[in-house]
Every structure is written in C-alpha cells, then in structure tokens.
C-alpha cells in the first residue's frame, strides 16, 4: 500500500543557538509518486528525509503519513537505503533481509528473502556472504533488497548511489526505477545529482537553505528554475560574460544582443544551459576557433577560443563543424511548451 507523506510546518533546529536547518516546510508527496529531493550539501534534505523516517524529531510542525485509501491507519513500514548503506557487518546478505521479515515463520521468511534478493538481481553466490565480502554493486543491491523486503509503504533513498562509479550508477538507477515502478511505492530520493533525480523521479523538489524553493516535473525544474542558485542545482550551466554579447561574440536568437528578461544572470554574466548553445556554421561572425575537440561519452566536447576568451561546450556531433564557428544562444522553452 502506498502512503501519502505530508509535512506540515516542519522545522528543525539542532540546538537552540544554531540557525534552523529546516524552516517551516509544507510539502506533500502523493501516494505512489517518486520525488527527487535535490539540493546543495547542508541544505537540509537528509534531515528532512530522516524526519520523515522518524529517525529525527522535528522542532516544530509534524509529518503525517497517511494511507492511500484512508482506511488502514496502521503505522507504515518504512524502507530506507542509507547513504553509507548501513549493512550490518555480522550478518550475511540473506540474514540481513530475513531480519527485516522477522514476524514471519522461518520458511516463509526464507522464501520471501530469496524472492526479494532475486528481484534486486543479487546473485545467489553472494547471498551467504557478509557485507565486507560484497562488491560495491552487490552491497547496493543488498541495501535495496533490505529496504524493500518488508513491502514498505514508503521508500526513502538517501543518496543511495553516491559511492558508485558511473556505469554502476546507471545500472542501479535502472534497477531502482524498475523495482519502484513495479511496486508503486511512494518514494523520496535525496541526491545532489539533479540528473539522477530527474531520471528516477516523477517530480523534483529543490531544497535550499532549509526551504523547498521549487517543486515540479523534471523538465519544468530544469528549464524554469526561478533563480540562478536553483538553476545551478538542477543542471549544468554555461557562463557567458555580458561582454561577449556586447562584442557580438555570442548572439541570442535572431542575432539579438539583449538577453531575454527571464534569463539567469548576475551583474557580470549570463548563464545558459549547454543545450541552449548552438554552433552556427561558416558565416560572417565566425570569431570562435575550435581549439580542441574530444569525445565526451556519446557527445563531443569542444573548446572554443576567441582572443583571450575560452569556453567549452558539448555538442551531439562534431562532424561538419568547421575550424571557426559562431555561437548562438537559443531561448529557453516557454512553460507552455514543457511536458507536464
């Protein structure tokens, strides 16, 4: 059964003199939704997650965990994957999962444990090993299996993939997505990798300075961040000094030198998503020289120079790009064009 998570005026202060870590957060996660909680280090996202789990008490407000059909008022089982996994060092993989199923008869417990371990694709050879004998990926799968074993109403993931390398992280993300979709469990994922949250989550909530500053669909959060700080948290940005536009080194759509009112900017620079940059082929304003071109995964990373200026941009393909190019900034998609 999926549960709704409702934070009502939740605030947290670790000691009287210290500034609050969370400031009157009002936030709801609908049953069965997967929400990514994104924010910088120290923003308060892990604290919020721990309050939801019941591992911390809040200084003010309350958290209500209510079942989807509003009939069953039992305390929900909460599954949690800790950042450092917190696998009990003295128990084998199978025993870790069986411990969570403590209330069941022994035989049933073994069967359920085997089912969950298979679901998270932990190879049977690893079932009787202790955490220190497991590889990083196996330990991660075990932590997920343990969190899912009791059929939780709420699944909390605290930066579960932070310690994995990129290929393993992608593999685990696929696994987590598959398992969560299959179970339909309400899930909160805490991460500082916006891309992870966007891949996994239906919605993204951005935590900053103890507040949830923005919440929305992944695309909305990515393109419509209300401030530069939030834009930085939700994806990569390319920094373009305003002088580039004045000197016509970079132009906006249709050759305009003036940025649109809603661009992310500070006094000196304009910030755009890499996806907004477009290289324009040979023409009259081809001041930028391609100094370097290297593969970046499936894309290409180009280093462009113009006098003393240098910027790096990523393009899907390098073929057909001349030695000198012009850079154009496309407008951000308007809110009505975003997928909801």
């Amino acid at each position: 059964m999926a549960y709704r998570i409702e934070c009502i005026d939740v605030s947290k202060r670790f000691c009287e003199d210290a500034p609050p870590v969370l400031k009157e957060i009002n936030w709801t996660v609908e049953p069965g939704r997967v929400v990514g909680l994104v924010g910088a280090s120290g923003a308060g996202k892990t604290t919020l997650l721990r309050i939801i789990a019941g591992l911390e008490c809040c200084s003010g407000g309350r958290v209500v965990l209510s079942p989807q059909d509003s009939v069953d008022a039992r305390r929900p089982t909460i599954g949690m994957v800790f950042q450092n996994l917190a696998l009990w060092p003295h128990l084998t993989a199978r025993r870790q999962v069986e411990y969570v199923l403590g209330g069941l008869p022994r035989r049933q417990r073994r069967e359920r444990a085997a089912t969950v371990l298979k679901e998270t694709r932990l190879l049977p050879a690893a079932w009787d090993r202790r955490p220190a004998e497991l590889s990083g990926g196996e330990a991660q799968r075990l932590a997920l299996a343990r969190a899912l074993a009791a059929g939780p109403g709420i699944l909390l993931l605290d930066e579960p993939l932070a310690q994995l390398d990129a290929p393993l992280r992608g593999e685990m993300l696929d696994l987590v997505t598959e398992v969560i979709d299959a179970r339909g469990v309400t899930t909160v994922l805490v991460t500082h990798h916006a891309a992870e949250a966007m891949m996994l989550g239906d919605r993204i909530a951005v935590v900053q300075d103890g507040r949830i500053e923005m919440e929305g669909a992944a695309e909305e959060v990515f393109w419509q961040a209300p401030s530069l700080q939030i834009a930085r948290l939700t994806g990569p940005l390319v920094r373009l000094p305003r002088s580039y536009f004045a000197e016509k080194l970079v132009a906006f759509n249709q050759g305009s030198a003036a940025p649109a009112a809603r661009e992310w900017a500070d006094d000196e620079c304009i910030y755009v998503r890499p996806q907004q940059l477009r290289l324009v082929g040979p023409g009259e304003h081809n001041q930028w020289k391609v100094a370097d071109c290297r593969p970046d995964g499936a894309d290409w990373r180009l280093a462009l120079t113009c006098g003393s200026h240098r910027i790096a941009i990523v393009v899907p393909q390098a073929a057909g790009i001349g030695q000198s190019v012009a850079i154009e900034v496309k407008s951000r998609p308007s809110p009505d064009r975003l997928l909801r």
């Binding site: 709704r4 911390e56 309350r62 800790f82 003295h90 220190a132």
Partner: protein, 536 residues
C-alpha cells in the same frame, strides 16, 4: 475519513530512543550504586559494629608511596614499549598465525598475578631454573639486582600488564587505516612515518600507560611474592598483622587517590578515539614482511619463551613429580570446586553488570561519565575487599553464615565489572548509529533487535569481559583472603598459605593448577574462536 484525523504515526523514533536511554541510565546507575556502595561506606565514621582498632600505626608512609609510583611508572613505560611492539607486529603486518601469537601474548595477563610472579621467581630468582642451568653467568647478572627487588618487581609488573597495553595500542594502530596510513607509507620517510604513527596513537599510548599505572600500583600479588616493599604491602600489613581495618582504609586513601585519578584520566586520554563507519569496508592492507617474518616470529618466540614458557617450565620443575602434583590436586579438590563456582558466578554478575552499564555509557561521548565508569578500575582489590568486609560487618555483624559466599562473589564481580564495562563501552562505540537506525526502521521489536543486531556486535567484547572477570576471580588472593566464609576457601588462598608456610612443591603444584584453571581454558577458547584479534 480525513487522513488528518489519523494519529500522527511519525516521529516516535527519537522519543523511543529517549525512553530507552532513560530506562538504561536508571539501570546503569542502580547497578553502579549497588556494586560501589560498600566502597563509599568504607570511609563512613565507624559505628559500634566496626572492628576495634588494635593499635595506632605511624602516619602514611609517603616515601613508600613515592617509590611505588616510580616502580609502577617505569613498569608502565616498559609495558607500553613491549605492548606497542607486539601490537605493531600483530596489527600492521601480515605475520603468519597472528591470531595464535595474539592469544599466546595474552598469557601473562590471563594468568593469576601471584602465580605469574612465582613462576618468574622460580625461573629467574635465587636458586631458580636459570641459576641451576647457568650458575656462573646468572650470578654475574644477579649482582646487579637490588636487595629490595624493585627492578624485578618492575619487570614482572611490566610483563603482566604488557598484554593490556598491546590490546589498547593495537586498537590505535588499527585506527591508522583511517588516519592515512597508505598516504604516510607513500610520502613519508621511515623515521617521519614512525613519528606520525606515534602522534596518531598518542591517546592510546597514554591510556595504556595510565591503565598499567593504576593496576600496577594497586597490585598486591607481585610485590608480595617478590618481597618488594611497595605501598600495597603496607596496607596489607595493617590489615593482616595489626587487624587495623580502619587504619588500613585511611592509609589506602593516597594510593586510591592516585590509582583512581589515573584510571579516570584514561577516559580523558581515550576521548573520541573510536572510528566507526557503516559502509562495508574491505579488510585493511598489511605490511608485507616477506622473509622478515622469520625474524619477527623469532623475536616473538624469544619474548614469549622468556616470559611465559620458561617460568611455566620452572613451576613444573618445582612440582617434583607428576604423582606429587596429582596429590596436591586431590588435596585441593574442595578449594578447586569453590574457586570455579565463585569465579563463574562473579564473572557472570560482572558481565551482566558490565553489559547494562557499558551499553548505556557507550551511547554517548561524555568524558565525565567515562571517567566515572573508568574510576573503579583503579580501586585495588585489597581496598575493595576491605571495603566489602567493613560494609558487611556493619550490616550483617553476625550473619556471615547466612549469606555464605555472596559477599565474596559480589566483591569479585565488582573487581571484574570495570573491565567488562570498559570493553562493552568500546564495543558499543564501534556500532555505527546507522546500523541501529536501520534495525529500528526494519520493524522487529527491541528484544529481537538486541538479539540479532546489538548483541552479536558486542558479543566478542562481552565474552572477553567475562573472561577477564573470571581470570581475576580465579587468581584473586586479596578479596577471598578477607571475605571467604568458613569452608569456602579458594585455591589462591591455599596457594597464599603454602607460599608462607608450606613446602615449595605444594605451592608449585597449586600454581600449576591455578594456571591450568585460569589460563588454559581461556587460551583454548580464544584460539578456537579467533577472538583475540577481533577484540583489538
């Protein structure tokens, strides 16, 4: 139904932990108060029930105290050096059979101190094994010996307590993995590496020194057997020769102040030394010895042969014959039985009390609280026995027969309890908070949580604590001498009597029997379960 009408299901975790902490703290305070109440009582003004003072002794012998301090401090420094060398070989290197070496290195501590000192005397003393084998060479060496046996006492005290230093410093060396051992190996010169390691484990070194100081100062068996006039002997004289219990308690005050302060200072020295991480970590990389393993193994063998094997051989040699030893064993059957059940009961009580108090103290890092729980480590057994004697004399003036060996068991448990508590505190602090949080979230109740998660994690240390309490109780002379009820004498008491008044072969036979009872089961158990290194 409005979901908001549901009771808030949240935030019970922290509240539950708080309630647990309160119940745990109450239990811990109660246990501590019960075990230490006699000690507090001992300095109360004497009532009519108190034993009369027979004679008035001169004031406190400050000079003896100063000499005792000097001897014990030197022994502490020696023990730290030996312990550090042993720990380095066992923790940092890939020496083959490390669990075996670690266990064998524990022998001096698990062997009763009286027996140990007697073994050293039979081996290296006047007319001992060495003198009989190499009379000329040994006479030359003994010419340097001092008439009051300060050097011998110092060496034996260092040998007895070196295993403790090894355990404490070994824990510090294990921590080096987290302090950048590999980086130090890469970037530092060998000398700089040694200085860096010494700096990184200075807290453990200080703790080991203070512990040896506290235990050594209060040690009665070693100086008594070696006839070295240290302060603990002064107190014993007042108790045994002058029957002046109150005077002995007064004379014990300066010693107690030093030992308790040293024990409490261990808490300060050891503050924040534990390093826990909940992320599964592979076993640490060790220094490859290669062919040097022979050299290190040879040095270890030589040390253990010199301190353990030869003295044991000397004791066996003094037994005359197997028949004579068996006669001694059969004569001491009743004492053996008494010793075993009293030691078992005392170790059980000490272990349970240690688990209760240690589990509570280990939850937090409060130096003050640590100091309070460490302080009883510094209470010498003689003073503890005396305090219990005065307490039960006051409360049960004519009722000793009613309680049988109860006071003795309690006093022995109170002696072993600080060790058990300390070990449990160390184990408790190695449990990462996330492990407990994960167990709490997983659902099973607190009993299941204790049985499956907390219990197994502190099991090694609890067993080690029980073993220490058992060994201390088996070899105890001081407490049983004062508190044994008629007919419940112990082996150590019998040995003590024969040391003074009996033939040597009987004392040697009893020593061998005590050694077999105390050390052998412990060594076999540790070897079979490979626990020693895990305690480090």
């Amino acid at each position: 139904m409005d979901p908001r009408a549901l009771p808030p299901i949240n935030r019970s975790g922290a509240a539950r932990r708080f309630r647990g902490a309160t119940a745990g703290s109450l239990a811990a305070i109660l246990v501590t108060a019960l075990l230490l109440a006699p000690l507090a009582w001992a300095w109360m003004p004497e009532g009519s029930a108190g034993p009369a003072r027979v004679t008035v002794l001169p004031g406190i012998p400050w000079k003896t105290l100063a000499v005792s301090l000097a001897v014990t401090a030197t022994a502490g420094a020696l023990a730290v050096i030996i312990g550090a060398a042993l720990a380095a070989a066992l923790v940092l290197t890939d020496l083959p059979g490390r669990a075996f070496w670690a266990t064998v290195a524990l022998v001096p501590f698990v062997c009763p101190a009286t027996v140990w000192a007697l073994g050293q005397a039979y081996c290296y003393g006047s007319g001992g094994l060495m003198e009989r084998c190499w009379p000329a060479a040994w006479h030359g060496l003994r010419a340097f010996s001092d008439p009051r046996h300060y050097i011998a006492t110092c060496l034996v005290l260092a040998g007895v307590h070196a295993p403790l230093a090894m355990l404490i410093i070994g824990r510090g060396l294990g921590r080096l993995q987290h302090a950048g051992l590999e980086a130090a190996a890469l970037f530092l010169t060998p000398w700089a590496r040694v200085r860096w390691a010494a700096g990184a484990i200075r807290q453990e070194v200080a703790a080991a020194f203070l512990l040896v100081l506290a235990l050594g100062l209060g040690n009665f068996g070693v100086p008594h057997v070696l006839q070295c006039p240290l302060y603990s002997n002064e107190i014993y004289l007042r108790v045994a020769n002058y029957l002046d219990h109150a005077g002995a308690m007064q004379a014990a005050l300066p010693l107690l102040a030093v030992t308790v302060a040293a024990a409490a200072a261990i808490a300060w020295a050891e503050r924040k030394t534990a390093y826990v991480q909940a992320h599964p970590a592979p076993p640490p990389a060790r220094v490859r010895l290669g062919r040097k393993a022979w050299l290190v193994g040879g040095l270890l063998t030589a040390y253990l042969a010199g301190t353990s094997l030869l003295p044991t051989a000397a004791i066996i040699g003094e037994c005359r014959s197997p028949g004579s030893f068996l006669k001694v064993v059969s004569d001491a059957a009743e004492e053996t039985e008494n010793t075993l059940w009293i030691a078992l009961a005392a170790s059980l009580v000490a272990c349970l009390a240690g688990v209760v108090v240690g589990s509570w103290v280990g939850r937090s890092w409060r130096v003050g609280l640590d100091a309070v729980t460490m302080a009883p480590l510094g209470v010498p057994a003689l003073i503890l026995g005396l305090a219990y004697l005065r307490f039960f004399n006051a409360w049960l003036p004519a009722g000793w027969a009613l309680v049988g060996s109860g006071p003795l068991v309690l006093a022995m448990a109170a002696r072993g309890w600080p060790f058990t508590t300390r070990l449990i505190v160390a184990a408790r602090r190695r449990i990462a908070p996330e492990w407990q949080e994960a167990a709490e979230l997983a659902g099973p109740g607190s009993v299941a949580r204790w049985r499956r998660i907390d219990g197994p994690m502190i099991l090694d240390h609890a067993v080690a604590g029980a073993v220490v309490a058992f060994v201390l109780a088996v070899g105890d002379v001081e407490i049983s001498h004062l508190l044994s009820s008629p007919g419940s004498g112990t082996l150590a008491m019998r040995l003590f009597t024969f040391l003074h008044f009996g033939p040597t072969h009987v004392a040697a036979g009893l020593s061998l029997l005590l050694l077999a009872l105390a050390a052998a089961p412990v060594i076999v158990y540790f070897l079979l379960t490979d626990r020693c290194l895990r305690i480090i």
